[in-house]
Structure formats: structure tokens, C-alpha cells
Amino acid sequence: MYDVPTTERGVISNQVKFEAKNVQVFYGDTHAIKDVDVEIADKTVTAFIGPSGCGKSTFLRCLNRMNDTIDICRVEGKISLDGDDIYDKRVDPVQLRAKVGMVFQKPNPFPKSIYDNVAYGPRIHGLAKNKAELDDLVEKSLRRGAIWDEVKDRLDSPGTGLSGGQQQRLCIARAVATEPEVLLMDEPCSALDPIATSQVEELIDELRANFSVVIVTHSMQQAARVSQKTAFFHLGNLVEFGETSQIFTNPIDERTESYITGRIG
């Protein structure tokens, strides 16, 4: 496992986007995330890896407060985005989610046309003044989602009629259409075949120029391929966090080494 090719593109920016301090998450009585401290840099791909049930998805969903929809979920500690505490009472999760987009594990386009899928976010946030502007925004987003060429002739056909990989790229286009600053991806390739996966991975690398990307993945190769920073979670703890090349070649913690060499997980 030490010969996994790590990305050669280094970290562009050291500006901190997300800063989590002493984060605890409880599901009822279950302590799902324990004492997590992490800093997520701007214009960087950060990968969360770890065995199933280690809390990496839970932590990801804390970053745009998607856990609010789960009644029994409770978050403690402090997570700040550009210095603002996102769990502050004054923060409206709707505004937060406009800034922090999300792509889910299973492609979940709305059962509407491809155009409407992408235009929905800009419409509810009032990002386009008129139809022409909205058309431009939809095209730009679909281009950013690397799917424009495949769908430009059938923008009116339903988004659910696309293939799995196309649907996921449509969902990415939909997420970037609201001009977020951070893009959260929860195992975006787990439902895709290798070809679609490589397309999405390429796309993630391109998105890094404009966004801070946080990706949860089960595949260590994928983490190594797309990310600059990697965080390893185990049993709700953040075991190790650092440069991807360092984590995969020279892990400090014994558990990280066991996991990436395939001895646990």
C-alpha cells in the first residue's frame, strides 16, 4: 500500500476555511464523534478516510448542519467557517448551506428536467436576475460539472434519465450552481463504476481551483489520488490529520498504518 501514487499537485492555499475545535457529536446516548480538531484549508481537497461507522460522514454532515434534520443528533464544540461559528444561534442553516454545498453518496437528482435541477438553487437564492443570466449560470455550472457536452442538447429531458455517473456529475453541477465556497462530498463515487469514478475524480481536482472540497471516501486509493490533505478517523476519533503524501507514506500513528496497510478496517 505504500506505493499508492499520491497527488503531485501541492497545497495551493494555506488559508483556513473551516476550523473545528473539540467537536463532539451524540446520537441519543451514543457518542459518535469525540474531540475532533481539524482545520480545512481553502482551495484544497481534504479527504476523510476510515473504516465504516468511524464517524467521518457524521462529521462531514456537521459542516453544513445537515445533522439538524436528525432529531436525536446533538453537536457540541465549535465549528467555524471563515471565523463565524456555524452553530451560533443567529446562523440560519439555509444561508450556511448556500455557502457549503453538498454532494451525496447516491446520485439524487430531482425528478425534473436537467435544466431545472441546476437552476433550482440559483432560483431560490435569487442568483440570476433574468432568464439569460440563469441560462448562462446553468451552462457554466454544467461545464464545471463536466457534463455540459453530454446534456447540452437535452436540457429539458429528466435528470433521472441519465446514467449513474452522469447523474452524479449533474448533482455536482447542481451543487456548484449556488456558487458555494466549500463543497462537501459524501462518498460521491461509491455508486459509480470505475470509468465514471475517474471522471468524477478528475472533476474534483478541477473544482479545487475554485472551492475548498471535503470528500469522504472508503477508497484509500481515491483519497491518495485526489486529496492534498487526509484525515483518518477511527471509532469516532480523529487519529491523524496531515498532508496526504505523509499519511500514506509515513504515518505517525500505529492505527493509521494498520488501516492503510489493510490490517484493520
Binding site: D71, V94, M102, Y120, T160
Partner: protein, 440 residues
């Protein structure tokens, strides 16, 4: 890999031979299929018997016997009749003489008594006199009269009244049947489609022939309007709140259990509630479709809430996540994405609820819509809601409870009309579901 010693593996026979265990399982499967087919056949048989008996018993309600005669009354005859002391009697005699002349023309001869004509057709003299007084221009030209025969004549033609079973009374004598036979032979008495049954209003207990279901269809219509415009918004709003917004705690659990219980409450309980609240406390008019609609709304709400919640729950959560993920508020996620997907289920539930309410009789008993004789249409829309009226099932119940056997036909006929409405509502539900159904 396993801890099991491999040498104990069972020796299996040839694949071409069915072993005893498999035979048993196959037999069990065959038996189960047979039970299923049997159950379906029994159901279908009952349905067919029901349909046949309804159509057979109800069909007579849609036809009635009429005496179709054409004759001319001259100015002199009119003046002569108007000069008599008993004017209607004079017109009756005039009618009888015209009838006798027509029969003679066809070579049929029978003595026509005035009393017999009155038994068969009612006060025919008065009808004719009224016609000519209103249309004096018609004098001297042939006029065609279609006069409804009494319901006992209807009964004679559809076999309910026979010469053997006839009890002579002031309504029908045995000798009258001879006259009916002769007139039938002459083609003067014949069956005709009874439009009055579909469009007309209820008649009194002594006039089954004149009874129609039209007024109570209007009553049911106004009631359903009330039900639709109250129960759909209230039910859908309640379901959306409970399903999407309400916190899950003991209190909402209690509400949920109670809604399910309400769906099982006997409808007569809603009736007495309506009587107490809407009529005795709020002093709304008795027997009014408005009150009926309010009571049926209470009854329909649980049905609509349950079906709406089920269809909201059937929308995949990933759609909500997707909407929230692009920054939609919870309400936007629900109204833009979840509700449109749940719409076919909601509409189907609503229509089924309405159909249930349409056929409901028990609560109407208590608010005075049963037994009310609707003698005419309501005058205008407001009156449609507030004026006393009947409803279809209540009208059917009223007819079935009346002594005169002719109302029995009317009750069956009313059931046919009611079933036609129910069937068309169900078909509408299916069409809506097909049309709005989206797959994802």
C-alpha cells in the same frame, strides 16, 4: 475455511428424481395457489351477483308507464266543458270519449269508466283543462299528451302486480287491468324512459311514480363541495406538519394514535357530534348540506391525513437531502419537491375519502337529512348550502323505509345512480394517479 467436517455432506439423489421433501413443498405451493384462486372466484361471484341483482331490481325505476294519446279538442268542446258545473269531470268525460273513439278506430271495444281512468292516471281532467286554459291556441289542432300512469300500472308491467296477487282497492281494480291490456294492445299505454327519476325531486309517500333523485344529487353535490374545500387543505396541512415539521415526542405520538383511532370511529358518532356542535350549539340550519358537509369533513379528515402521510413518507429522503443540500429551507424542500411527488397519493386518498363520504348515511340521520322530502331544487348557490335538502344515500334510505312497494324500485334505482357516481370518482382517482405519477 469452515469448521464443519466435510465428510458428513449429505448424499443427494439424481436431479431427475423429485425427492419427498420437494414434493411436499410443491404440493403446499399448489394448495396455496388454489386457495388464492378460490378466494378470487368467490369474490368475483359475489360481485357479479350483486351487480346483476342491483341492475335487475333497479332498472324498473328508470322506466315508467305512460299513456301516449293524441287528440283534438275543438273550441266548441272547450266552451261546453267550461260551461259545466263540474269542470274537471267534464274534461275527464271528454278525454274518455276521445280515448274510446280511438280504440274503436283500431277495432277494440271496452267500456271506460271515469273512476277507472282516475285510478290509472290520476286527475287527468284537471291536467287537460289546465293545458288548454294556458294554451288556447292549441284548440282545434291535434295535441299529443303523455300522461304518467300510476305506479301500480308500472308494477303490473314489470311483474310486481299480477292478476292473482292483486288486492282490489281504491288504487286498482281487477277490471282496470283489462282496460290496461286493451290500451296496451292499442299502443296507447307503453313504457318510456323516466327522466323525472334522474332529474326530479322527491314526492310524497303516496306518489311513488313522481319520485326522483335529482334534488338529492344536488344536495350531495353541495355536501361534497364543503367536504372537499375543508378536508383537503386541513388534512394536507396537518399531514405535512406532522410528517415533516413536528418534533417526534410523546405528544405527537398521542396525536398520531388518535388520528388512526378517529378513522375507525363509527360514523354515527360523528353524526351526533355534528348535531350537538353545529346544530344545537352553533344554530346552523337543520337538514342543510352545509352541516352534512361539516360532519362528513370530520369523518373524512382522518382518511385524508393517513393517506397523505403515507404518500409523503413514500417520497425518498434523498430528495429532501438534495433540496436542503442546495440551501432550500425546509418549507421549500417540502413544497417544491416532496409535495409534488406525493400529489398522486394525496389525490387518490382524497377522492377515496370523498367517495366514502358520498355513500355515508348514518351521520345524516342525526342532522335531519334522512326522511326530509326534498320537493324541489335549491334556489341558487347559497340556498344550495343552507336550505334543507336530502343526500343520495339518505334519499335511498328514505325510499326503502316507505310502505308503498313501488318505492322499493326507486331505492334500487337510487343505488344505481349512487354507484355510478362512486365508480366515476374511483376512475377519476385512477386517472389522476396515472397522470401525475413520476418515477425516479
Amino acid at each position: 475455511m469452515t469448521d464443519m467436517p466435510m465428510e458428513d455432506a449429505p448424499v443427494r439423489g439424481s436431479l431427475t428424481q423429485v425427492d419427498a421433501r420437494t414434493k411436499k413443498r410443491n404440493a403446499a405451493e399448489k394448495r396455496f395457489k388454489a386457495y388464492g384462486i378460490g378466494a378470487i372466484l368467490i369474490g368475483v361471484a359475489f360481485l357479479i351477483v350483486l351487480a346483476i341483482s342491483i341492475v335487475r331490481s333497479g332498472a324498473p325505476a328508470f322506466t315508467h308507464t305512460v299513456m301516449d294519446v293524441e287528440f283534438t279538442v275543438t273550441q266548441e268542446e272547450f266552451d261546453a266543458a267550461e260551461g259545466e258545473l263540474f269542470k274537471t269531470k267534464a274534461y275527464s268525460n271528454l278525454f274518455i270519449s276521445k280515448l274510446a273513439a280511438q280504440l274503436e278506430e283500431k277495432g277494440l271495444e271496452i267500456e271506460i269508466e271515469e273512476a277507472a281512468i282516475e285510478r290509472l292516471l290520476g286527475k287527468v281532467g284537471a291536467d287537460i283543462r289546465e293545458f288548454y286554459r294556458e294554451n288556447p291556441n292549441a284548440l282545434g289542432t291535434p295535441q299529443r299528451f303523455e300522461l304518467s300512469a300510476s305506479s301500480r300500472v308500472d308494477g303490473y308491467f314489470n311483474g310486481r302486480v299480477t292478476r292473482d296477487t292483486l288486492v282490489e282497492s281504491r288504487f286498482l281494480m281487477l277490471a282496470d287491468l283489462d282496460l290496461v291490456d286493451v290500451l296496451h294492445e292499442a299502443g296507447i299505454i307503453k313504457g318510456a324512459f323516466n327522466w323525472n327519476f334522474i332529474t326530479g325531486a322527491d314526492s310524497g309517500v303516496d306518489n311513488p311514480g313522481g319520485a326522483g333523485i335529482g334534488a338529492s344529487v344536488i344536495g350531495s353535490f353541495f355536501m361534497m363541495l364543503v367536504v372537499l374545500f375543508l378536508s383537503l387543505p386541513i388534512g394536507v396541512a396537518a399531514s405535512i406538519y406532522l410528517e415533516e415539521f413536528a418534533p417526534k415526542n410523546r405528544f405527537t405520538d398521542l396525536i398520531e394514535v388518535n388520528i388512526s383511532n378517529l378513522a375507525a370511529v363509527p360514523s354515527i358518532v360523528f353524526g351526533i357530534l355534528g348535531l350537538a356542535v353545529f346544530i344545537q350549539f352553533m344554530h346552523l340550519p337543520q337538514s342543510a348540506p352545509l352541516v352534512g358537509g361539516l360532519v362528513l369533513t370530520l369523518m373524512t379528515l382522518p382518511t385524508i391525513i393517513i393517506s397523505t402521510r403515507a404518500s409523503l413518507r413514500a417520497v425518498p429522503p434523498s430528495i429532501r437531502d438534495a433540496a436542503l443540500g442546495v440551501g432550500a429551507s425546509k418549507m421549500q424542500a417540502v413544497f417544491h419537491h416532496v409535495l409534488p411527488l406525493a400529489m398522486p397519493g394525496i389525490l387518490t386518498g382524497t377522492i377515496i375519502g370523498l367517495a366514502q363520504a358520498l355513500g355515508e348515511t348514518a351521520p345524516l340521520l342525526l342532522i335531519g337529512m334522512v326522511g326530509f322530502v326534498a320537493r324541489g331544487y335549491p334556489e341558487g348557490v347559497v340556498a344550495g348550502f343552507t336550505d334543507p335538502n336530502s343526500a343520495m344515500p339518505a334519499q335511498i334510505y328514505t325510499w326503502a323505509a316507505r310502505a308503498d312497494a313501488s318505492f322499493y324500485d326507486k331505492a334500487w334505482g337510487g343505488i344505481i345512480i349512487l354507484l355510478i357516481f362512486l365508480l366515476s370518482m374511483n376512475i377519476l382517482a385512477i386517472i389522476l394517479r396515472r397522470r401525475f405519477e413520476r418515477r425516479w
